[in-house]
Symmetry: C2
Subunit: 313 residues, 2 copies
């Protein structure tokens, strides 16, 4: 029996600071309806798909900050999206800002929730690689994710969605090869990714023209090297004066981009993913159990950064 | 002070089974002279640059097999190459088949030796990821590297070459993200790679058109994700009836291919690598010590292959 999953990427255009949750959720439902009309069984929305990308600002008002986070998922504002999923029979992954009481205190994570075709929550992922800084730094584009979010504490989980093993990753996670490898070793066949990626980084002018290349390169390599499908959704366009790249895409386990958004607005792309492709690609040299050398990779799980200088010579 | 290293990739065309070591070494010396004329300080030759790629054959005659290996490096046949390095003041990395007595027995490795601008040996690397099989397998292109070579036992060492930290990798190693990450964590600034890659794999027809893409993709991602330079040399062209891809290249830490061979024969490409580029690229989000989560990557160093089925859901 051919195993296939019809997956949609629901890219969104910018979300204004003043846009209400109700208005945003209505946009997401419209995208989910388009995905359903295209035959999708599963859709992925961007990182922080309910709000503007506020880590671009050095905010200090606690109430203003608090308003960006969800305390329940689904909650009153987001329940209509879960109801739409049930009605349309399309599951989804949704990036949002999570506030939760754990260990007796409020904790904040950059999170993605996975919901089934019945609109029930299947599981959550919390962004493991949180970029940026706690406070503005001289000469560096303001990006205060590490003020607003803790690094994730749920590892790299894999969930069954209609019998397909699904992992999730969020924005900066996609740049690190360990993300895909951990999900692969946990059994993932498909990785859903959401991102908000500024077009301009003032600190690296000679890399400025490479933002889209650096978006696709690690995802294509991650798909190829781990023989997984990837479906990645951008929040795109000029949001509160900051340009975000698009380039939402679906990538086969061959590393090929098989579907690509070509706008900077709300847009849906769909692909009927053939899960036999994973095995075909594994046959092209990626028999992990036979060829990998885990005993030789200890440093990857021990040292955060490079040991310098050289070990010999 | 600007740190730069002029690096050359010396691609070779096919090497016939009957070609003598003396003839091959003469070809390599001619390439090294071209590299020197282009200002190179360091040159990289392909994997198994002294012989034909014999793992394509199911050989049984011990004497015939033995003749492909070097027992000394430099030895009588290869000493002229080291002398040329000293004369030209160009160091090199050379892939060859190594036979060595270790642990009281003969052991065989797919090895690359690094020599300095004075022609002296700096260090060696032994291929860690040995692909193929011990015996021919039904429906799979014959590739018996695992009969002819043990997996390497020297880890992922990094050596100082004129103050630049150099790692090496061989052919299939370049497909595994752990190779680049281990070299990066060991302090590498530049990775030298040699390869012999058949154009056709009969077992994966729907990937057949992607051989060059799958050559460059993991190397470009490896350069980008580890902020290292890569210089990669193919043995190319139709060798004993088997087509090998070319595509030798030099890749910047941005992942950009900055020099590319465009023949399938003996060819030299040179690039003056700016080692400040490594730091520039690291600034674009790759502060490893700050953002990596080694404690969360344990499985990478524990499990060879995927755990299935899904862990949850």
């Amino acid at each position: 029996m051919a195993r296939r999953l019809n997956v949609a990427v629901c890219q969104t255009g910018p979300i204004a600071r003043a846009e209400s949750r109700a208005d945003v959720v209505a946009r997401l439902i419209a995208l989910l309806e388009t995905a359903a009309a295209g035959g999708a069984e599963l859709a992925v929305f961007p990182e922080m798909a309910l709000t503007t990308f506020f880590p671009r600002w050095d905010l200090t008002d606690p109430d203003e900050i608090r308003a960006f986070y969800e305390r329940e998922m689904p909650g009153p504002d987001t329940a209509p999206l879960f109801a739409a999923a049930r009605r349309l029979k399309v599951g989804f992954a949704l990036g949002y800002c999570e506030s939760v009481v754990e260990d007796g205190r409020e904790r904040r994570f950059n999170t993605m929730v996975l919901a089934g075709r019945d609109g029930a929550v299947i599981g959550r992922y919390r962004k493991m690689h949180v970029p940026g800084s706690e406070a503005p730094e001289e000469g560096v584009t303001v990006h205060l994710e590490r003020r607003y979010f803790e690094p994730g504490n749920l590892g790299f989980p894999v969930f069954s969605f209609e019998g397909v093993r699904i992992g999730m990753a969020i924005c900066n996670d996609r740049r690190w090869p360990e993300t895909y490898r951990m999900l692969c070793l946990n059994g993932a066949e498909m990785v859903l990714i959401g991102y908000n990626t500024p077009l301009l980084l003032t600190e690296t002018p000679r890399l400025a023209h490479l933002r889209m290349f650096h978006n696709h390169l690690p995802m294509q390599a991650g798909a190829y090297q781990n023989t997984v499908w990837i479906a990645a959704a951008a929040k795109a366009g000029v949001e509160e004066g900051q340009a975000l790249i698009g380039g939402s895409c679906i990538i086969a386990p061959s590393g090929e981009i098989v579907a690509l958004a070509n706008s900077l607005g709300d847009e849906v792309i769909v692909h009927r993913a053939d899960l036999a492709m994973n095995e075909d690609c594994a046959k092209a040299g990626f028999d992990f159990a036979r060829y990998r050398r885990p005993d030789e990779y200890a440093l990857i799980a021990q040292a955060a950064g490079p040991r310098r200088p050289a070990t010999a010579g």
